[in-house]
Structures are given as C-alpha cells and as structure tokens.
C-alpha cells in the first residue's frame, strides 16, 4: 500500500490533467469540405447523423 497509493495518485493526476475520457461513447469525424457556412461562419453541416432510436 505504501507504493500502490502513490501509483494511484500519479495515475489520477495524469488522467485528470490529460482530460482523457475513455469511457464515453464519443466519436471523432470530419465535416466534408463542401459544406457551406452560415452566418458567423458556422458550418451548416446537415449530414452525418448517427443518433436516435
């Protein structure tokens, strides 16, 4: 326990500082290049919908 607790603490610090969230269902993707922009330069991307039941 003398060292284990220290390892846990280091792990906690590393994960918290990195912000890594491995257990969420997030996905990473890219908006296609041909998407137009709306007011304020917002990409008016209407594709890529994945959610719902």
């Amino acid at each position: 326990m003398k060292w284990f607790g220290g390892l846990v603490l280091l792990g906690y610090a590393a994960l918290t500082i990195s912000g890594w969230s491995p257990f969420t269902k997030e996905e990473r993707d890219k908006v296609p290049g041909n998407v137009r922009r709306g007011p304020g330069g917002v990409l008016l991307w209407t594709g890529g919908y994945m959610g719902g039941k």
Binding site: G5, V8, T16, G19, S21, P22, P32, G38, L43, G51
Partner: protein, 631 residues
C-alpha cells in the same frame, strides 16, 4: 532466652524465640515443649532431609523494613516428596511462615480462624471471597509433618494428616486455609509470593543453591542405563529414555514403578539439550505426549519440560508443528469467566477450547508424580500470540501463560540440526500474519486518500472550468425527428487552449423520450466530436398506484479538443407525434477544461482496495482459526 536440657538425651536446648512453644533437640530429634519453667518431651520427629532450599535456620532477613529471623523448620509430605516450611519471628514480635514450592517463596501470616468455611465446599479452580479479597483456589491437598528442626509455635504430630487449601489473589497475594484434621473453620494464613531476593536475606546467610541430592542409584533399575538426572533435587519421577521404565525418585533412591511405551520417534528436542529462551538458559529434562479426543478424533501434542535453577520450570509445547512457550502463572492474577474469556494484564483472552487432556507418554524427569493416563480438564484462552491455559484436576489447578514461537526461533534457541516439522493448519494462538500489516495498510491508505483529496482540490482550483456554451433549444412542434428541422446550430465560441469538455443536457419531455445528438465542430479544421445523450420522462398508473420513470438530465465528458473556434450542432430525435401540443425544449451546457470526477471516484475506489483485501485476508485467517474452536 530460655535454656535447658533435653528431657530425652540431656543435650542443651534453648528457646530464643518468644513465640515458640516447642523446640526440636538437634541431637536426638525429640520435640521438647516448655511447661512453665520445665521442659517435657513430646516424642520424636524425623530429621530434616536435605533439599534444594537456599534457606536455613538462624538466617536473618528483612521484609518491608522489618527484621526477622528464621527460627524453625518443618518438612511436610503427602507421599510425593517433602516440601519446606520455615517459621520466622520478627523483631517486633510478629510471626509468620515462609513456604517454598518450585522455586517460589510465600511469606504468610496467621490471620486467625475463618468461620463458616468447609473443606468439602472448596474445589480447585473455584473462586472465593475472603478477607475482603477475591481468591482462586489452586490446590486442595493434605500432608503430614515428617521432619522438624529449630523452634516452633506449637506441637507437631507426625501422625496427623492435615488438610489445606491454597489460593492465589491478584498481585501475588497468597492464601492458605489450614484445616488441620478438621473439615471446617480453618486457620487462615495470608501473605504474598516473593522472590528469593525479596526476602532480604544476605547472600552469606543463604545455603549454596546448587546442592544435589546424592542419588544412590543414578542408573535405571530396569536396564542399568545411566540416567544423569539434571534436576535431582526437584525430581519426583524419572522415565528412563532407554527402556521406558517409570521410576520413582525419592530421598536419593530410584524405585521401579512400571514400564511405559516409549515415543515412536526421536524427540525434536532431545533430553539434556540446552537452549536460550526468554533471557535464560534452559535444559530440557522431560517430555510428555498428551492428547485429547474430540468427536472420536484424537489430537496429540508434545510438551517439553524445561528447567532453569533460578527460574524453575517452563514448558515448550509442540502441536502440529506450532510451538508455544508456557510459563507458570498465579491463578489469582487472572480474571476468568469460564469458557468465555480470561483477563490478564489488561488483555482479554477469548476462550478457544475446553478439552480433557490425557497423558499418553512420558520420558525424562518430572517435578510431580507424573502418571500415564493422567487426565486434566484443559482450557485455552487466546489473544494471539499469547494464551492463558488452565489445567485442572480434582486436587489442583494450574495456570500457564503461553507465547507462540516461530519454529525457527525454537530451532535456533536449542541449536537443533534436524528440520522442524511442517506446520499444519492454524494454531489457536498463532499470530495472524495479515493483522500485523493491517495497521500499516490503513495508515498508508489514510495518508494517500488525504493526498488524493488535496490533489483533487488543487486540480479543481487550477482548472479553467469555463462555461463556453449555455443555451436553451426549442424544437418546433412540427419538426420531424432527426431531420434538419430538428437541428440547432449554436453561435461559434472560442476555446483558448486544449482541454476536455463536459456536456450537460437537461429537458422536460412528458411521457416520451428525447435523444440529443451533439456534434462539436471545429470551424477551422472541420474536425467533429460526436456524442449522444437521451432524456425521458414517463408517468402512469397501475395496480400498485402511480409510477414515474424519469431521466431528465444527462452529462458526459469529451476527451480533450485542441484550441480553436467551435460550434455545436444538436439534432433532436424523438417519437414522431403529429399532434404534439407544444414545442419541446432542452438545455445544453458545455464546460471547458474541467476535472473528470469519475477519475477521482476511480482512484478512491482503488485506494480502498488495499484495506479491503487486507481485511478480507485477516478475517479469513481468523475464520479458519476459530473454525477449530470447540467452545
């Protein structure tokens, strides 16, 4: 001082002690009593047999600053060898008795008769309350005065078999009830246990301690084997290691009693082996094999009798490879709740077992008249690594205090060459190996948890925790789920640095579900982080009454995204309802660079794994230990 001539032999006898009524003639062993100014003979008494006692007549000592002189000497016997009692007279006129047993001394004072106490009501092991004190009866016995010397307070009758009861109280207190030949109203003698040095007798007035009885036959009467007695002054029984003959050893003679079965294998600690334990050098002089039978199963164990001239006798017990060092203990020092617990020196000992112990095999020398087949009710109370053991027979109860020893300690102490027997199972007083580290585990865990809280606080305080987006989104009633009509684009927002993102979504759907697809779009790089959360609320009635199921808010963490300009696109999905009465709304909140509390909980969980495992192992050890208890 009164002087005169012995009525029997004419030798000079004198009374120096004012309290003395009789004096034993040093020449002819006549008991001379004073009758006014005359002396008269009261018959003869046996001569004192030399023993290992360091005391002698006319020795002067000091007890609690009061000077005294040893003026008389009695030897009593109940068939198992004599013991010494010394009559002492103090300078202030008080008188007392110094008795000896197995190297311990008891200075006792006559407290007068104890009315209403009957011999048949007193049994070893029982407790009684006398003279404002609690006592534990250790022995009930009888004996005759077989020899005397010097001056005595009353006549001695060698034909009288007198009964006595010995009891001990706390802190060395000692009580003897002398019933004489009566069965009631004994004379009470109260005193305390003292070490030789506490008697205040100058070394020059003590007899040399090592004074061996000259055994006429130091050879076995059966096989003529050389016995080499190691404690001849104390020994009452000898079991020949060569042929197994049990011999009686009294007054310098060995006499055959019976043949015994010898141990089937060599002794782990051979007789005569010397070893250092508990700060003293011991010699192994005797061996017993004892056993108990529980539910038809015989459980044997070995006991090695160890002797040291100044410390007396102790035991080393071996049971299934587990060793316990046992020292005699005054019963009065132990507060006992039979078959429940014992209390000794601020420690509670829990009752582990109560068995009938039988002596099966004997070898070597013993200070009591050991018999094969001897039975004793044995109880063991444990507070690992210590134990309090109570052995009770009809006439005597003896208490011992045990300490568990690692086999290697015994091996090293006695310089044994053979490997020690493997330990089997768990011994009653075996230290719990998992308990010793328990405290350390808890201390370290506490420290690390404290550090974890401190670190979490620091990380929380230094995190930006910036709310970069917080808005309410309205879904028109005519919107089709999952289509651009159910989509919403937020105003762009800036993330000044790389960091993670906490997403919080809340809403108030009514009897329906609402799924929110979120797309965090980097306006510069076209990178998208997608997430999906669902809200729901249902209410209804059934046979059990009203029920509700709700999930009105949801949150998630997104892994770090780089600095840059972002916008959030949300797309709502829900059960299509063409007659939806009103628009649905939900709120979205994005918090940038915020510590994930899940990691804190995870770390906290890992931290307590150690103590939980340590507790489990410790508890499991104790469970296995106490599974063997028969109480």
């Amino acid at each position: 001082m009164t002087q005169g001539k012995c009525p029997s032999c004419g030798a000079m006898v004198e009374f120096t002690a004012g309290s003395a009524q009789v004096v034993v003639c040093g020449y002819c062993q006549t008991v001379v009593a004073r009758k006014g100014l005359d002396f008269e003979s009261h018959g003869k008494i046996g001569s004192i047999v030399p023993t290992d006692s360091p005391l002698q007549l006319r020795a002067e000592g000091r007890y609690r600053k009061a000077a005294y002189t040893i003026v008389g000497h009695l030897q009593k016997d109940h068939g198992a060898g004599p013991w010494d009692e010394w009559y002492v007279e103090f300078a202030d006129g008080r008188t007392g008795w110094l008795s000896e047993s197995e190297g311990a001394f008891h200075l006792m004072f006559d407290m007068g008769p104890e009315e209403g106490v009957a011999l048949e009501d007193l049994h070893p092991g029982e407790r009684l309350h006398l003279r404002d004190r609690a006592w534990v009866i250790e022995e009930r016995g009888h004996g005759r005065v077989v020899a005397a010397a010097g001056q005595l307070p009353s006549d001695v009758d060698p034909t009288q078999d007198a009964w006595y009861v010995d009891a001990t109280g706390p802190k060395g207190a000692f009580l003897t009830l002398d019933f004489g030949t009566r069965g009631h109203s004994p004379e009470a003698f109260v005193g305390e246990a003292l070490k030789l040095e506490q008697l205040g007798i100058p070394a020059g007035q003590l007899r040399p301690r090592v004074r061996k009885v000259e055994l006429q036959q130091a050879r076995c009467t059966q096989c003529n084997g050389n016995l080499e007695l190691r404690a001849p002054d104390k020994t009452l029984r000898v079991a020949c290691p060569y042929c197994g003959a049990l011999l009686d050893a009294r007054q310098g003679k060995l006499s055959f009693l019976r043949m015994l079965q010898k141990p089937s294998r060599p002794l782990i600690i051979p007789l005569g082996t010397k070893g250092k334990l508990d700060g003293a050098e011991w010699i192994c002089i005797g061996y017993l094999e004892r056993s108990c039978t529980v539910e038809g199963v015989r459980y044997p164990w070995e006991e090695f009798l160890l002797y040291n001239a100044s410390r007396g006798f102790v035991w080393l017990m071996n049971s299934n490879g587990h060793w316990v060092f046992l020292k005699p203990l005054p019963a009065g020092d132990v507060s006992l709740s039979p078959d429940v617990a014992a209390f000794y020196e601020h420690r509670r000992y829990r009752c582990f077992q109560h068995v009938t112990a039988v002596t099966d095999k004997v070898l070597g020398e013993f200070y009591w008249t050991v018999r094969v087949g001897e039975r004793a009710e044995a109880s063991e109370y444990v507070a690992a690594p210590y134990s309090v053991n109570v052995d009770a027979t009809d006439d005597e109860v003896s208490y011992t205090h045990g300490e568990y020893l690692e086999p290697e300690v015994v091996k090293e102490a006695f310089g044994l060459q053979e490997p020690m027997p493997q330990r089997e199972g768990i011994a009653p007083s075996q230290p719990n190996p998992h308990q010793s580290g328990l405290r350390s585990v808890f201390v370290w865990t506490g420290l690390w948890i404290l550090a974890l809280f401190v670190l979490a606080a620091v990380l929380s305080l230094t995190a930006a925790k910036t709310v970069v987006l917080e808005e309410a989104v309205v879904i028109p009633p005519d919107a089709t789920p999952g289509t651009p009509g159910a989509m919403h684009f937020s105003e762009p927002f800036e993330l000044p640095k790389r960091g993670n993102m906490r997403v919080e979504i809340s809403g108030t759907p009514f009897n329906e579900w609402l799924g929110i697809q979120g797309d965090l779009v980097n306006q510069d790089t076209n990178d998208v982080v997608l997430f999906y959360e669902e809200l729901s609320y249902y209410r209804g009635n059934d046979g059990d009454g009203e029920w509700t199921e709700s999930n009105m808010s949801a949150s998630t963490y997104l892994s770090p995204v780089p600095a840059g300009k972002y916008a959030l696109r949300t797309t709502a999905s829900f059960a299509a309802n063409p007659v939806r009465p009103r628009p649905m709304t939900y709120r979205v909140k994005l918090i940038h660079d915020t510590p994930n509390s899940s990691w804190f909980c995870f770390a906290l969980g890992l931290m307590v794994v150690g103590p939980v495992v340590a507790l489990y192992r410790s508890h499991s050890f104790e469970t296995r230990r106490w599974a063997e208890s028969n109480v």
